[in-house]
């Protein structure tokens, strides 16, 4: 255990090594550590933001879905209403056509019966004239008694 100049040499070496560490070792390592800490903080912030974005997007999607469902229901009820309307219209149209056909047929039938009646009248008149002709033969002149015959026809 002797003291000698080794002491001062050690002192100088000590300070030089500390200086070297300060100059070349400490700053790059601290820089890397700080940068990594920054990256991790950024990553965590990005994760939080992504989480918030996801929640937002999910909310938006469910909103859209609800809206779509609502509009589809609305659409469907509108369509149903329209279909019912169409059916109603078609039914009314059918009824109207049927009625028109019936009326036309009835009119036709009435006209035909009228015509038959006219024809029958003509025949009856002719028959009456013929009968009367046969009976009266000479006394009745068809031309002279045309007015009378016509009157008789219209009374049938």
């Amino acid at each position: 255990m002797n003291l000698n100049a080794t002491l001062f040499a050690q002192l100088v070496v000590f300070l030089i090594l500390a200086w070297f560490t300060m100059k070349f070792v400490w700053p790059p390592i601290m820089k890397a550590l700080d940068e990594r800490a920054g990256k991790i903080a950024d990553g965590l912030a990005a994760a939080d933001k992504a989480k918030a974005d996801l929640a937002h997007a999910e909310k938006k999607a469910s909103d859209e879905l609800r809206k779509a469902r609502e509009s589809a229901a609305e659409f469907r009820s509108g369509a149903e209403r329209q279909v019912a309307q169409l059916i109603e219209d078609a039914r009314a149209e059918g009824a109207r056509i049927v009625n028109a056909a019936r009326e036309a047929a009835e009119a036709e039938a009435a006209a035909a019966s009228q015509r038959a009646k006219e024809a029958l009248r003509e025949h009856v008149a002719a028959l009456a004239v013929a009968g009367a002709e046969r009976i009266l033969r000479k006394e009745i002149n068809a031309q002279a008694h045309a007015e009378l015959l016509t009157q008789l026809k219209s009374e049938l």
């Binding site: 255990m1 002797n2 080794t6 090594l17 070792v25």
Partner: protein, 285 residues
């Protein structure tokens, strides 16, 4: 080796405790400023360079991405030192924190030399010494620089100088002078000399105990390794000698394992005290 040249126990220990110095023989005076311990200088400088080069390598490859194992290990150390220095020193730590890291790693490396086989490097050195035509019995070599009071006191003196530097830097020369004469007892002309004396005692005690603590621990540890080695060397043929050899193996293993704790702990304590003393220089009374 011939029987008459085999060293006895005390010769063995004295040989192991003698430094390789610039005189070539044991320093006679207790204090001689013209002498250098070549072994202490060589090992401390080599280990210091090794330490800072390993750190510089880690620093050069440091990325902010995913670190490898080596980088992560260095980062753990750096973070540990950084958090300790942050909690102790309040102020600019751009030099103090790297200083603490250097102190820790360098002292750890120097202490770790204690774990090498006690006779390995001295025996190799003895062989080299003999091969160059010298007497191998004068081939002195001590490989644990922190078991040399010069090394530890040199470092604690460095810490003292930094304490004085930061005292002046933080408090200003006037503020520091004021503190030297008014703390710890108070500002009164009668108390000035007492305060000053207390401050001087504090500085001396801090510095001496700082260096002596590390030296004492490592010196004692080295000495115990020598005693265990002597125990193992006593195996020459007899039954009790064989038991001693077994005892030497067991004791050596236990002491070496325990020493892993000591070398780390002492390096840590030296670093913490360095931070505490420099931190005190930052705080005004």
């Amino acid at each position: 080796m011939a029987a008459e040249h085999a060293p006895n126990a005390s010769e063995y220990i004295v040989h192991h405790l003698t430094h390789l110095n610039s005189l070539g023989h044991k320093q006679a005076a207790l204090v001689d400023w013209s002498v250098f311990h070549l072994d202490t200088l060589f090992w401390s400088v080599s280990l210091g360079l090794l330490a800072v080069l390993i750190l510089a390598r880690a620093a050069a490859r440091a990325t902010s991405g995913v670190p490898g194992r080596f980088q992560a290990a260095v980062e753990i150390l750096v973070e540990m030192v950084e958090s300790q220095s942050k909690s102790i020193v309040h102020g600019d730590r751009s030099f103090i924190a790297p200083l603490a890291l250097t102190v820790f790693i360098w002292i750890f490396f120097m202490n770790a030399m204690d774990l090498l086989p006690l006779d390995l490097l001295p025996r190799i050195w003895g062989g080299v010494y003999a091969a160059t035509g010298h007497d191998a019995s004068h081939a002195y070599l001590r490989i644990v620089p922190t078991a040399d009071l010069n090394a530890t006191l040199g470092m604690s003196l460095g810490v003292l100088i930094l304490c004085l530097y930061y005292s002046v830097k933080i408090k200003g020369l006037g503020g520091w002078m004021h503190e030297l004469f008014t703390a710890p007892f108070g500002s009164h002309p009668v108390l000035y000399p007492i305060n000053f004396a207390m401050q001087m005692i504090e500085f001396v005690a801090k510095t001496v105990s700082h260096g002596m603590r590390l030296f004492g621990n490592m010196y004692a540890g080295e000495l115990i390794f020598m005693l265990i080695a002597l125990m193992g060397a006593a195996w020459a043929g007899t039954a009790s000698g064989a038991l001693l050899w077994v005892g030497g193996v067991i004791a050596g293993s236990i002491w070496a394992i325990f020493h892993i704790l000591i070398i780390t702990l002492q390096a840590f304590i030296f670093m913490m005290l360095t931070l505490v003393y420099i931190g005190q220089a930052h705080e005004s009374h």
